[in-house]
C-alpha cells in the first residue's frame, strides 16, 4: 500500500492504495465519484476523462499514485458551488448532446480542455478535439452543437 494525497473537486483526499490501482477506480470506488466511467481497457474511449491540474486526462491511464499532489476535477466538480451548471453542461442539455449519457462526463471534460485551449473553435477543430472520446449514440452532431453552444457563451 502506498499513501497518496490529492485534491479532488477542491477537497484534500488521503488514502492508502495499491500501487496498481487506477486513478479511475480510486475515484469511483474509494471516493464514490462515479461520474467518470470505464468504457474500455485500452484508453481509447475517453469515458473516464477528468482534469488533472487543469488538463484533460484519461483516468484509466493513470495510477492513483501518479496523481500524488495533483488537483483533480471530475464531472461532479464542474458546476459552480451554487449549483449553476458549467456552460458545457448547459450546452449538452440545450442541444441534446447526449442520449445514454455514458460517454457524457468524459466528453464534457475533454471539451473543457478544448475550449480552454481554443475558446472559439471551428467545427473541424471541435470534431478533432473530441476524437479521443467515443460516443455510440449521437453521431456527434449534437455534441458539436453543444460545444459550439458553450463556446458562444464562454
Amino acid at each position: 500500500m502506498t499513501h497518496v494525497t490529492m485534491t479532488v473537486n477542491g477537497k484534500v483526499r488521503r488514502a492508502d492504495v495499491e500501487p496498481r490501482l487506477l486513478l479511475v477506480h480510486y475515484l469511483r470506488e474509494q471516493l464514490l465519484l462515479t461520474g467518470a466511467h470505464v468504457g474500455c481497457d485500452t484508453s481509447q474511449c475517453g469515458a473516464c476523462t477528468v482534469l488533472i491540474d487543469g488538463r484533460s486526462v484519461k483516468s484509466c491511464t493513470v495510477f492513483a499514485v501518479q496523481a500524488e499532489g495533483s488537483e483533480i476535477t471530475t464531472i461532479e466538480g464542474l458546476a459552480a458551488k451554487d449549483g449553476a451548471l458549467h456552460p458545457l453542461q448547459e450546452g449538452f442539455w440545450a442541444e441534446h448532446g447526449l442520449q445514454c449519457g455514458f460517454c457524457t462526463p468524459g466528453m464534457i471534460m475533454s471539451a473543457v480542455n478544448l475550449l480552454q485551449d481554443t475558446p472559439s473553435p471551428t467545427e473541424q477543430q471541435i470534431r478533432e478535439g473530441i476524437t479521443g472520446n467515443l460516443c455510440r449514440c449521437t453521431g456527434y452532431q449534437h455534441i458539436v452543437n453543444a460545444i459550439q453552444h458553450a463556446a458562444s457563451r464562454g
Binding site: L21, L32, L134, C137, G139, Y140
Partner: protein, 804 residues
C-alpha cells in the same frame, strides 16, 4: 379558485430532456455504480481457443488466493443451472452459461471466480490453468456448410442451424410447398438479369457501457433483486425466475441507467444467470462488470449475412423478379433471438417495391465465432442493403437515373395498407413523396453537376441514393414469444402530481421526456408535475422492453390509453365536485372546470385530493385515481425514407470521405423532433460506420483480430460531415398516436446509399459492386489495378461484380 396560467402544448415540440440534469453532472447510476454492503465481485475465465475440448482445469492457485471466496467450473455451474433457453422456435443445441466440456468460440466462459474485489477476482481468473485438446475451427460460413473441417454441434450436420427456409411468391405460408412457376417465368422473360454475391459483414455493437450485473439474493426473504444493463428488465425477470427456480413474484429486475444497448442487450446472457445462481448459492450479493476486451468476444455481434442476389427486369426499368439466397453466419450458438433476426431480412426483402415475383431462401450456419443476435436494425438493414444495391446495379446497367428506376417500381401510395408477398402488411406509406423531398433537399441535379465537374478535374466523386422501409413497433403478440404488447399505469397522486410507469425500458431514447410531454398535454398540467417510472419490475408491474423501435408506437400508446382511463375517472370526480355532467368537464391549464364556466374551476390538485378522500363518494365510483392499460397493436409499423450521399475517394490513397449525407425519414407523427433527430443521427452514424469503417475480422483459427478499440474502427467525430435531415409525415393507422418509431431508421438507408456512391465514384474502373467495408486498400486496388498490388491476400473479393 385557480391561478390563471397558460400551458403550452408540448407534443411535437423540441423539449429539452428531463433525463439530462443528472447525466451531465455525473449523477446517473449505472450498474457499475451500485454498491451493496458485503458485495463480492465475479470474474470469468474464458477460453482462448475457438474450438477445443477441456482436458483439465486447475483452480487450486485461484482458490488459494487471499480474498477469493469461491471458484466454480463449468461442471459445478451445471449443477446449479440448466441449459440456456432461446426465444425462437428453431431447433437449438444445448448451450451452457459456462462450458463444461467443449468450447466453441474464443471467449466462451469456462470458470467463474468470486472474490472480495474486482482486482483480486481478475488475478484469480488469470491463475486458473485450463488445458484444451484443440479441435479444428471453422470461421468461413460457406466452408462450414460443407461440414469441414469440423462439425460444431453433433446434432447439426454440416453446421446447419437452419437448413433452408423458403418464402415469397409461390411458397405456402408455412413453407411446406413451393411453386416455382412465377419466379421462373419472371426470370425467363426478363430482358436483363443481374446477379451479385454481397456480404453484409459482421459488426460489433459496442454500446459505450459494457454489460454488467449485480445479483442480490436475500436468504431471509427468499427473494432476488438483480440489476442489469439490459434493454428489457421484465424479460430478465421472467428468465431469471425460470432459471433459478424462483417465482416471478420473488424476482425483482432493475435496469438502472443503461449506457446504450443497440440490440445487444436484449439477450439474457449466461453471466446474468451465473450471477443469480452464485448469489443464491452463497447467499451474498455479487457484481460482474464486463471489460471491453471481454465485451468484444462475449457480447453478441450483429449482421453477418451473405446474400446471393438475382434481379430480373425489362429495359424500361420495370423489375420482374428478385431472388435472394441468404446465408447467415450466426456464430457458435443460438442466443435469445439469433435465429429470428435473418427472417426479418426475408420479410423485408422487397423493400419499397412492388416486385411481381420474389423468392428468398434462408440458411443459418454455425461457426466458431461469437454468436450473433440483434444489432440496431436487426435484419432490416441487411434487407435494405441487398435490394438497394441490386436496384442500383440495375440502374447502372440500364443507364437509367437511379431515382427514376426506383420510382417506376414503388408500391403506389394509394395501395396502402399493402400486403407484400413476403407476408408483411405495410401500414401506410408514400415513397414517392420521400424520394421527391430527398431529391429536392439534396439538390440532386446540382449534385450531379458538381460530381461531373469534379470528375473533369480527375477527382473520384460519387453519388448514392437509397430508399428504405422498416418493420418496427413490434408486436403484435403473434410475432413475439414474449408477447407483443406494452403496459403502462398512470396514477394521479393525492397532491395532483402524476406518476406513470412504462414497460418500455429506455437506455438513451428519452422516454422520461417524451412520455411526460404526452401526459402534460393529455391532462393539461405542467410537465414538471410528472414523473415517468421505468426499468424496475418492482415498480413497473408489467412490460416487455425496448427493441425494434417500439417504445413510442407501443409503449407510448399504452401510456396514452392508461392516461385516458384515469382522466375519464377524474372527470367523474370533478363532475361530482362541480355538480356538473362529466361530458361538460374540461381539463385546462392545471385546472378542471365546467365548459363555459371557468370561474368555478377547481385546481387539478383539489380534484385529486377529493378522489382520495371522497366525502361524499359519488355513486358508482371507487376512491383513487390510478389505472393501467395493456396495448396490443394489431400490426407492426413501417417507417420509411430516402437517404442520399456524396462521397469522394482519394485517387492516390483510396481513402473515402463522406461529403454529404441527406436523410429524409418518415416516422409518422413525432412527439419530440429534437429527440427524433438524435435518434436518426445515431442510426446514421452506425449505418455509415458499417459502410465505411467497421468490420469484425477473424483469423482462420477463430481469433477475433478486431478485438479492441485499437483494432475495431469505431466512428469518431471526424468521420462524419454534418447530417442534413428532412422529414415527411405519414401517420400510421396502427396506433392512435400515428407514431411509427425511429430508433433504427438511420441504419437502413445510409449503408447502401454510401456503397452506391462508392460504386458510382469508381464506375470508370468498371466496378459494379464493392463489398463493405470501404477499406482504402480495397478501393486503391480497384483504382490502381491488381497488377500494381500483389493481388493476393485480399480477404474478400474487391468486387468486380458479375454481370449476367
Amino acid at each position: 379558485m385557480a391561478v390563471s396560467i397558460v400551458l403550452p402544448k408540448l407534443v411535437g415540440e423540441r423539449v429539452k430532456r428531463r433525463e439530462d440534469p443528472r447525466l451531465i453532472q455525473g449523477r446517473g447510476t449505472y450498474v457499475d455504480d451500485i454498491k451493496i454492503v458485503g458485495m463480492f465481485h465475479l470474474a470469468f475465465k474464458r477460453s482462448d481457443v475457438a474450438h477445443g475440448r477441456i482436458r483439465s482445469i486447475d483452480v487450486a492457485a485461484a482458490v488459494a488466493m487471499d480474498g477469493v471466496e469461491a471458484v466454480f467450473t463449468g461442471a459445478q455451474i451445471a449443477e446449479m443451472l440448466g441449459p440456456m433457453p432461446i426465444g425462437t422456435p428453431f431447433p437449438s443445441p444445448p448451450h451452457r452459461a459456462v462450458a463444461a466440456d467443449v468450447v466453441r468460440y474464443a471467449g466462451e466462459p469456462v470458470a467463474v471466480v468470486v472474490a472480495t474485489n474486482r482486482y483480486t477476482a481478475r488475478d484469480a481468473a488469470d491463475a486458473i490453468v485450463v488445458e484444451f485438446d484443440p479441435l479444428p475451427a471453422v470461421v468461413d460460413l460457406e466452408r462450414a456448410m460443407t461440414g469441414q473441417p469440423t462439425v460444431i454441434h453433433p446434432d447439426f450436420p454440416n453446421n446447419l442451424a437452419v437448413a433452408l427456409v423458403p418464402s415469397g411468391t409461390g411458397v405456402s405460408p408455412d413453407g411446406s410447398t413451393v411453386d416455382n412457376t412465377a419466379i421462373d417465368r419472371a426470370f425467363a422473360s426478363a430482358e436483363v438479369v443481374l446477379s451479385q454475391r454481397m456480404i453484409n459483414q459482421r459488426l460489433v455493437p459496442n454500446a459505450m457501457e459494457t454489460r454488467g450485473v449485480v445479483a442480490h439474493f436475500e436468504p431471509g426473504k427468499g427473494s432476488m433483486t438483480i440489476w442489469s444493463s439490459t434493454q428489457n428488465p421484465h424479460i430478465l425477470r421472467t428468465m431469471i425466475a425460470a432459471m433459478t427456480g424462483l417465482g416471478q413474484d420473488q424476482v425483482r429486475a432493475i435496469a438502472p441507467e443503461v449506457g446504450g444497448g443497440f440490440g445487444a442487450k436484449i439477450n439474457i446472457y449466461g453471466e446474468e444467470y451465473v450471477a443469480a445462481v452464485v448469489s443464491k448459492r452463497l447467499g451474498i450479493p455479487v457484481k460482474w462488470v464486463e471489460d471491453r476486451s471481454e465485451a468484444f468476444v462475449a457480447t453478441t455481434h450483429g449482421r453477418d449475412i451473405l446474400g446471393y442476389v438475382d434481379i430480373a427486369a425489362n429495359r424500361d426499368g420495370k423489375v420482374l423478379g428478385l431472388k435472394l439466397r441468404l446465408i447467415a453466419d450466426i456464430g457458435a450458438y443460438n442466443m435469445l433471438l439469433t435465429a429470428a433476426i435473418p427472417t426479418l431480412t426475408m420479410l423485408m426483402a422487397n423493400g419499397t417495391y412492388d416486385i411481381p415475383a420474389i423468392r428468398t431462401t434462408l440458411t443459418e450456419v454455425f461457426t466458431n465465432k461469437t454468436p450473433t443476435d440483434a444489432y440496431r436494425g436487426a435484419g432490416r438493414p441487411e434487407a435494405t442493403y441487398f435490394v438497394e444495391r441490386a436496384m442500383d446495379m440495375l440502374a447502372r446497367e440500364l443507364k437509367m437515373d437511379p431515382a427514376e428506376l426506383r420510382r417506376r417500381n414503388f408500391i403506389p401510395a394509394d395501395k396502402f395498407p399493402f400486403a407484400t408477398q413476403m407476408g408483411a402488411v405495410y401500414d401506410s406509406g408514400d415513397y414517392g413523396k420521400a424520394l421527391d423531398l430527398g431529391l429536392k433537399a439534396s439538390n440532386w441535379q446540382g449534385l450531379v453537376a458538381e460530381r461531373d465537374a469534379a470528375r473533369k478535374e480527375g477527382r473520384l466523386v460519387g453519388l448514392g441514393l437509397a430508399m428504405y422501409v422498416e418493420v418496427c413497433g413490434l408486436g403484435p403478440s403473434s410475432s413475439l414469444p414474449t408477447g407483443g404488447w406494452e403496459h403502462s399505469q398512470v396514477t394521479i397522486e393525492r397532491d395532483g402530481r402524476i406518476s406513470a410507469t412504462t414497460g418500455a425500458s429506455p437506455h438513451g431514447q428519452g422516454n422520461e421526456t417524451t412520455f411526460a410531454q404526452m401526459l402534460a398535454d393529455q391532462f393539461s398540467v405542467p410537465i414538471e408535475h410528472i414523473t415517468i417510472l421505468h426499468g424496475d419490475t418492482g415498480v413497473v408491474k408489467q412490460g416487455i422492453g425496448t427493441f425494434g423501435s417500439r417504445s413510442q408506437a407501443v409503449g407510448g400508446t399504452a401510456l396514452h390509453l392508461a392516461g385516458g382511463k384515469v382522466k375519464a375517472k377524474m372527470a367523474k370526480f370533478a363532475a361530482a365536485l362541480l355538480e356538473a355532467h362529466e361530458d361538460d368537464i374540461v381539463f385546462e391549464n392545471g385546472t378542471i372546470g365546467v365548459k363555459g364556466a371557468p370561474a368555478s374551476a377547481k385546481t387539478f390538485a383539489e380534484v385529486a385530493g377529493y378522489a382520495y378522500v371522497p366525502v361524499p363518494l359519488p355513486p358508482g365510483l371507487e376512491p383513487g385515481l390510478s389505472d393501467e392499460a395493456f396495448f396490443e397493436p394489431a400490426n407492426n409499423t413501417y417507417p420509411f425514407g430516402c437517404h442520399i450521399s456524396m462521397l469522394e475517394i482519394d485517387r492516390e490513397t483510396g481513402e473515402p470521405t463522406l461529403l454529404r449525407l441527406v436523410a429524409v425519414d418518415d416516422a409518422g407523427n413525432l412527439i419530440n423532433p429534437l429527440i427524433v433527430e438524435g435518434q436518426i443521427h445515431g442510426g446514421l452514424a452506425q449505418g455509415i460506420g458499417q459502410a465505411m469503417i467497421e468490420e469484425a475480422v477473424y483469423s482462420e483459427d477463430g481469433q477475433l483480430l478486431t478485438g479492441s478499440f485499437m483494432d475495431y474502427a469505431m466512428p469518431r467525430a471526424t468521420d462524419f460531415p454534418r447530417f442534413e435531415l428532412h422529414a415527411t409525415v405519414t401517420p400510421t393507422p396502427v396506433n392512435p398516436l400515428g407514431a411509427k418509431g425511429v430508433g433504427e431508421a438511420g441504419t437502413l438507408g445510409s449503408t447502401p446509399c454510401i456503397v452506391n456512391a462508392a460504386v458510382d465514384a469508381l464506375a470508370e474502373f468498371g466496378v459494379t459492386h464493392i463489398d463493405m467495408m470501404l477499406r482504402p486498400e480495397k478501393l486503391w486496388r480497384i483504382i490502381h489495378g491488381p497488377r500494381q498490388g500483389s493481388g493476393q491476400g485480399l480477404r474478400q473479393s474487391s468486387g468486380q461484380g458479375g454481370k449476367a
